[in-house]
Symmetry: D2
Subunit: 295 residues, 4 copies
């Protein structure tokens, strides 16, 4: 299949590589010439603009840092919608606000293009391994068209509803995740301060009503879960700055919807304080350090 792939950053590049490996013909665009050259050498076709990349393609995928880039890549004079053929299945995998996703999709519809959103989880590791989760907001027909291709980059392809619901699913999940991780941090640090063994406490929580992914899979207390970032100095994993980005999207969407998110807003500020202290590059589970005596 001829696929246009636009946005070849930390996530986009390995995703595109998996599609090339799967035998597709890729038309590529990014502002970074180096990564373009590198993927060109693997057989991709380097384009001069999003418009050029999509011109002959049967499917379009974009993976960009933020809403402003999505608007620009789709709506500019040299953008996707200026070059795309009506009827081409299109999906944006960026994590952005649901409203922008809907607005750009509407602009696409005006050109006869069915465009969905499909933000991912799984990080750069999942992108390289082809084990990402895609949360897809799309019509049934578009979802059917996209699914086989997304499966070549990921393991779970979840249909969340109409366009925009992929973004909604992601920010709601990550809002809860950001809260849970702080909840686990408070519980573990309190238990430790009061004198219970943290391994024992984690075991009890994990078989009781406090059980959650942030405790049983990604526990922030060092040594409780060998494979968690907490057991390797909070390196790797999901950086606090990325969590901040998602909480920013969630609280902003909540603000527009006049929907209170009290713990979510506090969580955002606590990660913000972590960022202010210069710790934003660490895995987000390092938030627990704010609850421990400085060593």
């Amino acid at each position: 299949m001829r696929i246009a792939f636009i946005g070849l950053g930390n996530m986009g590049a390995p995703m595109a590589r998996n599609l090339i490996k799967a035998g597709h013909h890729l038309a590529l665009f990014d502002l970074n010439k180096e990564v373009l050259a590198e993927l060109g050498a693997l057989g991709g076709q380097v384009s001069a603009s999003p418009r050029e990349a999509v011109a002959e393609s049967d499917l379009v995928i974009t993976m960009l840092p933020a809403a402003a880039h999505v608007r620009s890549v789709y709506l500019d004079d040299d953008g996707v919608l200026a070059g795309i053929r009506a009827g081409t299945p299109t999906v944006d995998c960026s994590t952005i606000d649901p409203q922008t996703a809907r607005e750009v999709s509407k602009a696409a519809a005006a050109k006869g293009v069915d465009m969905g959103d499909a933000p991912v989880s799984g990080g750069t590791g999942g992108a390289a391994a082809g084990t990402l989760t895609f949360m897809v907001g799309a019509s049934d027909a578009l979802f059917s068209a996209l699914k086989p291709v997304l499966e070549q980059m990921g393991r779970n392809i979840v249909h969340c509803g109409e366009v925009g619901t992929g973004q909604i699913a992601k920010i709601c999940n990550n809002l809860l995740l950001g809260i849970s991780m702080i909840g686990v941090s408070e519980a573990m640090a309190l238990g430790n301060a009061l004198g219970i063994d943290t391994q024992v406490l984690a075991g009890i929580i994990n078989s009781s009503t406090g059980r959650c992914w942030s405790s049983d899979t990604y526990n922030p207390w060092p040594g409780v879960i060998d494979t968690a970032p907490s057991s390797r100095g909070y390196t790797g994993g999901f950086g606090a700055e990325l969590m901040l980005k998602d909480l920013g999207l969630a609280t902003e969407a909540a603000r527009q919807a006049r929907q209170p998110v009290i713990l979510g807003a506090v969580a955002q500020q606590l990660y913000q304080a972590m960022s202010l202290r210069g710790e934003g590059g660490k895995d987000f589970s390092a938030i627990i350090e704010a609850y421990r005596k400085p060593q």
Copy 2:
């Protein structure tokens, strides 16, 4: 075995019934004459005081509403420690602060009595069904002595460490639970306000990093989990007032330990606001109603 059982309220009475059913001889005490008479009719021996109840017993169990009652039942002139024989295994199943648990246990040790703490989870339903979880703080020897008896009232008997750690485990778990439930409420209500189907959203969260007991087993959105209190008008379950009690114990223990619990403190206040509105008798998952437009 001759067991003294003191404190026959909503939890204590069904627990004692299970021990009578299991064939033990029970010496009973409570201030409520009716429940004493009722359990006496099942074969228990009614005592005039804690002191009298424990005098001939091989094991002592107490189940009381709060720390003040525990102090009084153990330390008063007519109390447990005035009548107990040295060497009698003793366990308090009340949910109280860890410090009181340790202090009363110390007073017991001075009389040659090894006393542990074993707060429970599972509610009145679990007490009746004999499926409680016991979080036990006790020496190894005491734990071994208690375990067979606790198993006649519960399903999971967890050894948390020395005396006091049972309370610590319970309040840390419930601190996290109180936070998680609000986190799930915010995520579900936000998703709904933004336009995703709540059943779909819950499905995504439950197979992703937001996964937790409050979402996959006890989801606060009506209809998501058929067996959850949210699907029957927030009746039954774990009342908000009980959650308030446990969060009060957690934040007070944290205060004494100079340990911050930021989300925990906010959670406590949000359940407090629910109580102020006269909703404290509902299941604690009804906290989600604060995040929904009044109907």
Copy 3:
């Protein structure tokens, strides 16, 4: 003086009226034809576009609802910067984010126009009475040029620094105001619940370290201050929706600056909850109702 005045809403219209009364010749623009006609009848000159309004003017004032309107009014083809003469002193009185203020000012500078920001406080009452406070971000020269005109609409004309600092001053002050009002609400409601007379409590706070404008001038407890909105059913005053707007600007500016505002974020969510309950039209001091038993 020939003054272009663009944006004639609840605030802009009375401000423009005061300038007409002071003898200036006004060139007016707004999308609302009625208000245009009304002010035209007072002697103002109705324009067909911002561009037309500014063409012959010696000074330009804008007063718009949000950043998007400011961008559009200044930068569109028919906008201020398309028609303005180089050297014309220009000021935007809208309350918007500091970054937009700076960006639009930069675009103005490229046309040889010195443009400042001067958001106001004092509400529609102050606008009508000509007693507004203007927080002005502008060069010294521009401030000198603007001051005499602003004085015809307000009482306090404060120079805050370079362009953007007017907005910063306003959102920082209102961030604190939003927090203080909730702090006073919690203190008053707690005192009442514990049994002290609220009038006495307010008196003590107002002569002690809790003293603040939200307590001594605008106390949210009904009857404490006769002239406060709390003493007339929370009508008039500064609506909760306006407070929400300003807290939204503050927390968004904080997010971009990686600056935590923990209490500010909680305050925003509590006003949001008030809005969700359908109370957003009340004066913001009605937040105290969330702390009182439903009547």
Copy 4:
């Protein structure tokens, strides 16, 4: 007058000294023999117990660290109520929970003693200078009896209502103070991060709706107020640990009254985090350091 003064710590000792200086005959008690000897040398009469101290006294004053001490000093076998003559005006100046104040006063009433509460503000400096504020909970008759004596130790003697209301006034004021200080810290730090001069910002706030004691008298930004602790490295002043004590009393009283105090609870946790970092000995305005980039 013969006055019994019990509790001669950092606050009590200078208060007692002022009464000796004013010509009263003091009967003194404290567990610390050194301070007893020191005040004895100034003419006070050293007693062996509270009971002995009050036996011949015309008025009784106590100044103790916490509720447990108050209970013990009044209710023990060797305590105040065991020795006091019926009709002796009695006042406790400790800062404790309102409920204990009421309970001990009730026990006093049973002995024919009218006992009030009169917690102070003004710190050790005010105690030495005789410029304290007394918030007095007492009957009208008792207030009249106490006032002339309290005036020899303080400047503002405020009658708050019946017994307990002195404590209520103090904890409500300090709840608000703890919140306001963090509010000012967030506003000042945000303004600084966004680029406004902090001196200018403070000036604007102080003449606007954000105005409060924490900004205009005790501003946490160094250099804004020359006489504030922030301008001398956060030394002296009102220690964060003392603020923590008062916020603990406020949130605990709120808990018992089922009264939410959301911002108050967050404020308490933020000072707690400050204490965890080992900064609890600094003036409470040093909370602003949590909002600034580490230097």
